[in-house]
Amino acid sequence: MLSDFFSRALVAGIGLAAVTGPLGCFVVWRRMAYFGDTMAHSALLGVALSILLSVNMTLGVFAVAALVAGALLLLQRQNTLSTDALLGILSHSSLAVGLVIVGFLTQVRIDLMGFLFGDILAVSVDDIVVIYGGGLAILAILALNWRPLLAATVSPELAEAEGLRPEASRIVLMLLMALVIAIAMKLVGVLLITSLLIIPAATARRLSATPEMMAVIAALLGAVAVVGGLFGSRSWDTASGPSIVVMALAIFLVSLAVPTARLFGRREQNGT
């Protein structure tokens, strides 16, 4: 089944969607979209440094993304520039530094487009093992910490007062995002990772009554986007990563037309 590149791409993509769905819900709930973007942009710096130091690329990308997250946490404590501005600085400068380093690496030829937009059709069996291994680890950590993570998202003060540790939850989520970016980079590329986190989760919101339901639906919608996008890219010979994102967007747009307000979360006597 994994012998041809197309089915490998399908299996890898579905595995990734299963993780980005639930994790993406937290990104949407906590308004971390720009933060996710920043970490993803830093992935290119991770790639460049991995080649420079000849270390495993997934590991290098994870380390750099985690460092950028740490840098942000420290800078936020300074209470000077807004988080918005800090993210802008970290995001674009890490991307730029990565590109500059890539320019110096004359001895190796780097397929820059491959890193920016991914190449899911080039996925190997080893990659699939990494995706499923890492993905299961991420899902397990999410599931085991679900209640404290959610409580910290709803209200850090409340969580803290009742004996939970919201700051730890925040760090766990940041590390999980670094991990998913390291895993996903090869498939959808640096520039499109965040879309797989956000679009399925945003689509799922209108179809869900509880956080858990939203996480599951986001995973399913992500998988549908992967399958649809890959078949679309085969039919019309379009780039695979962007096709998946376009498919996710199409599902989102269709979901806007569904009158979900009457399905969930509205009471009959609506005052305002």
Binding site: V28, W29, R31, R147, P148, L150, A151, T153, V154, S155, E157, L158, A159, E160, A161, E162, G163, L164, A202, R205, S208, A209, T210, P211, M213, M214, F264, G265, R266, R267, N270, G271
Partner: protein
Amino acid sequence: MHDHKDKETLITLSGAGIRRGGRTLVEGVDLTIGRGEIVTLIGPNGSGKSTTAKMATGVLKPSMGRVTRKPGLRIGYVPQKLSIDWTLPLNVERLMTLTGRYADGEIAAALEAVGAAHLRKAAVQELSGGEFQRVLFARAMIRKPDLLVLDEPVQGVDFSGEIALYQLIRQIRDDTRAGVLMISHDLHVVMAETDTVLCLNGHVCCRGTPGAVKQSPEYLRLFGARAGLAIYQHHHDHEHHDDGCVVGAEHHQHEGHHHGH
């Protein structure tokens, strides 16, 4: 007034204070909270009310003095305000199990107790201010807490809602025998059932029963001679103006709403 001698002590603060970055936020706080006892912290913005409450609950470690808590003390917390983003699909039922797992019957009973049983399936974003406040009380109560911490429980609630909430607090205290630590922004109204009022301004500037604090020269100095502490009584032994204000609390409507920490 209550006799606390035979009551189990939940929390003791002795000379407790917090210093941060060379600045003293609050110092020299002595306070005990016993089972079934209601303690109200009042004071202006930045006077150390929240800091004191956080020391009591263990969120902050005191940098001066000592804080001791009954081992395994369970805390139920009603936050000052909770704005839940639309992106998070959360109904009342799910909110009830935010920090712990509870059976169906427990959820129903807790919502019933605050008169919010009919809201069980409602999305939290759709609740009115008063409804949400009741649901948050139910959420804190379902934990069967030893101590209930209420951060500005009547903020943003109109006067009749305020009275209803005070009744609810009293009822919860009577039913669960939990200790209650209340942070109040409102300098002019405290519940009559409050056993101890602690008036803070970076330190404890006066303390005692609501009646004693009302008379205390420190209280008057801090909040001005016109401040007059109105003590909310459940029984109608106070006068109402036409607009529903308690006499002596005329300007609480105007002055009691400079919010934000």
